[in-house]
Structure formats: C-alpha cells, structure tokens
C-alpha cells in the first residue's frame, strides 16, 4: 500500500491547481495549498479511505471559505486594487480578465464552479464534499456561470456579431 504522505505528495500538482483556481493571487494560493496539506496530514486519521483527492479538496474548500468569512482577506482585497502576482499559469490578457472576473464571484459559487470545471467532480460529489443539497450545488453553479458571463461581456468593449 502506498503510504498516506506519498499519496498526498502525488496529489500536490492537482491541489495546487485547485488552490490557484480559488485564490486571488499567487501568495494566497500558496498559503491555501500549504494550510490544506498540513491540515490533511494532521487529520489523516479522519480519512475514510476513499477518494483522497476529493477529501483534501473538501478540506481546502473549507479553509478557503473560512478565511473569506473571517474577513482575513480584507488586506488582500485592498491589495487586489494594485498589481498582484497572478496565480500560476499562462499569461495573457484574456486570462487576466478571467481571473479578475473570478475574483468578483461569490466564494461559494466560485468553489462549486471550480470543483466541477477544473477538478472534474460530479455534482453529487460536490454536494457531498460541501455537505449541501444537490439543488444548492446546481443553483451556485448556475449563478456562477451567469455572473461570470455578464462580467466578462461587460468587460469587452466590442461585441462581435455575426451578420
């Protein structure tokens, strides 16, 4: 059997990706990743032996939401007005627009969108991870998509139309 720590280490690139998809900037993403890995290792006993990635992603989602709720992001919201280092990934104007729009999403909606789109979890898995009804997952997903579409459309000066 692969040891728990080894399996966590193997998951780090995907965990880093999820952290980057949630966090406002690179430093926050790194903090979130580190806190999540530490928590997962400290709580190894509570893991029931199935879907380790989902379990750690749920831990990360909770840490992310708690940080947001505690208002610990206040300083970062200020900082986000200035130039901050974007999360790891390709550069480019469109990505920056997208990241800025993601940063304006409600954190619960953002988490659902990322768990589905980036992490590829099913709706039922997301509901179980977040401990919310399936209907809540669907409404957060719907709101996230509509909000994001409106936000990005508003940011484009020229709207392309086919004749």
């Amino acid at each position: 059997m692969t040891r728990f720590e080894d399996r966590i280490v193997e998951l780090i690139p995907t965990l880093r990706r999820y952290a980057a998809s949630l966090a406002r900037n690179r430093a926050d993403a790194e903090d979130l990743l580190q806190d999540s890995v530490e928590t997962a290792l400290a709580q190894a006993r509570n893991w029931r032996g199935d879907n380790l990635r989902g379990w750690v992603s749920a831990i990360m989602t909770n840490l992310y939401r708690n940080q947001w709720r505690r208002g610990a992001r206040g300083a970062d919201v200020m900082r986000s007005q200035a130039i901050v280092e974007q999360p790891v990934g390709p550069d480019g104007f469109e990505r920056q627009q997208l990241l800025a729009a993601l940063n304006r999403l409600d954190p619960d909606q953002r988490a659902v969108l990322m768990l589905v789109v980036v992490e590829g979890h099913s709706y039922a898995e997301v509901a179980a991870m977040l401990d919310v009804p399936l209907g809540t997952v669907m409404s957060r997903l719907s709101r996230a998509r509509r909000r994001l579409a409106e936000d990005l459309a508003g940011g484009n000066v020229i709207e392309m139309r086919r004749p």
Partner: protein, 254 residues
C-alpha cells in the same frame, strides 16, 4: 428562460456542457438545442467559459511550479509536508521509520535523537520564511509565552538569552512533535537571520552529546538532556551556531 428549454431542464443543460449528462438524455438535449438558437448560444457560451477556465489553470504549469519551488533554497511546501508528515506518520501509528518518499531519500530508520533534528529543521524551514506570522506569541509577551509553552510540554520552559551571541527573541509557537506538543522559539539577529529552537519531551530519558546535522543550507545542533530533547536550527555558519548551542546548553542544563 425556463419556457424556452423545450423539455430540457437547466440542470441538464449544465450537465451537458460539463460532460455529465446521462447518455440517454443526449438526444433530447441536442434536439432542444437544434430547435432553439438562443439556448444553443447559452450552451456554447458556457462551454467556452469552461474551456477558458480549464486553460487558465493547466496542470503542467502546476507541475512546473512544484519543480521550480523544489529547486529553490527554501522550498516552502515540501518542507511543510515534511514537518507535518513527522506528525502524520506518528498519528498513523508508525512507531519507527518513515521515509519521505520522493521528498528525501533518507533511510527509513530514524533514531529517536535524530527525530528532533529533523523536526527542528522542518520547523526552521517552514516558519523562518514566514513574513506575516512567524510566531504565535511575540517576544514582548515572553513570560506568557514560556509559561504557556511550558504548560503544554508539561515542564518548565526557559527562553535562553542569546543576546551575547547577537540574537534577540522574536517569539514562539506551539508545534507538533510526533503526536505530542513541541515548543518552538524563534530568534533573529540584526541582519534578519533567524534561528529556531525546538524543545520537545523525549520518551527515553537519557543524555547525548551535541550532534550536528547539515541538510541543504540548514545547520542543526541537537541533543537530549533528561526529559527533553533540544535542537537549534538555522542557515548560519556551523561555528556560530555551535556558540549558540553552547549558550543554550549552559543556560538550560543542570
């Protein structure tokens, strides 16, 4: 929008763009999209959104970041993992021996005394780089700090005075040491160089001489003295760290 769904629920439209739609509903959803250009535009927009989000966070870039962090002098994450996995391995009941897999190729058997060196080095690497929160309790609450940490350890803790060696107390924090508490004190010199001192209860009472470990650019002196094990770690020259270790031993021993 509901009235334009042509027998297809919005949930199904989400499932369609997310590739989560049951196979037996594909035909119905595609027929609805074919019949309703507005609905098809929504589905296309959501699908484009998905593609943009996925390509904004490519896994390969994350792997690249891991590799690049691993090559830096003070990789935060693997060492955080190392620190936590010291606790994790004990929590899992691994009484002896835990390799760190791809992090390190250390032999699996780690002697009790070497455990504290490893834990101390990990603490140093994790916390000395912290700008925002290097310590839980700052030095201006020194009495509270040593009383609190001492209580956690079940013994009297003293914060050695290292001013003669050029180091001021920054503060301290409670850390894990195996499945027990450990006390970490942090010191800093005028140049900003930091040292971390780990004190933890040692299960096999006894005494060892000073031992020295150098891993990467982190030097550690460590020893066991009665019920406690001690370690002092930092990225400072061995000779300087040895004078610090001597001072700690002299102040705490006896």
């Amino acid at each position: 929008m509901d009235d334009r769904l042509n027998g297809v629920s919005e949930d199904e439209l989400h499932a369609y763009v997310d590739g989560l739609l049951p196979a037996d509903r594909h035909a119905a959803v595609e027929a609805a999209l074919a019949a309703d250009p507005d609905l098809a535009a929504v589905a296309a927009a959501w699908r484009a959104q998905n593609d943009a989000i996925r390509s904004a966070f490519p896994l390969e870039a994350m792997r690249e970041e891991d590799r690049s962090l691993a090559q830096k002098a003070r990789p935060r994450l693997p060492y955080a993992l190392l620190a936590a996995s010291v606790a994790g391995a004990f929590a899992l009941g691994a009484a002896t021996g835990f390799g760190f897999g791809r992090i390190e190729s250390e032999p699996a058997q780690i002697a009790a005394v070497d455990r504290i060196a490893k834990a101390s080095r990990a603490n140093y690497v994790v916390y000395s780089g912290e700008v925002r929160h290097p310590v839980e309790v700052k030095a201006d609450e020194k009495d509270h700090l040593v009383a609190w940490l001492g209580k956690k350890l079940g013994g009297e803790l003293r914060a050695p005075d290292l001013q003669a060696q050029g180091f001021q107390l920054v503060g301290g924090r409670l850390v894990t040491y195996g499945d027990a508490p450990g006390a970490m004190l942090m010191y800093q010199d005028e140049s900003g160089a930091r040292l971390t001192m780990l004190t933890a209860r040692n299960e096999n009472n006894g005494q060892t001489g000073f031992r020295f470990d150098r891993t990467g650019d982190v030097n550690t002196f460590y020893w066991i003295d009665g019920p406690f094990g001690f370690a002092i770690s930092g990225a400072v020259a061995r000779e300087r760290l040895e004078t610090v270790a001597d001072a700690i031993y002299a102040q705490i021993g006896g």
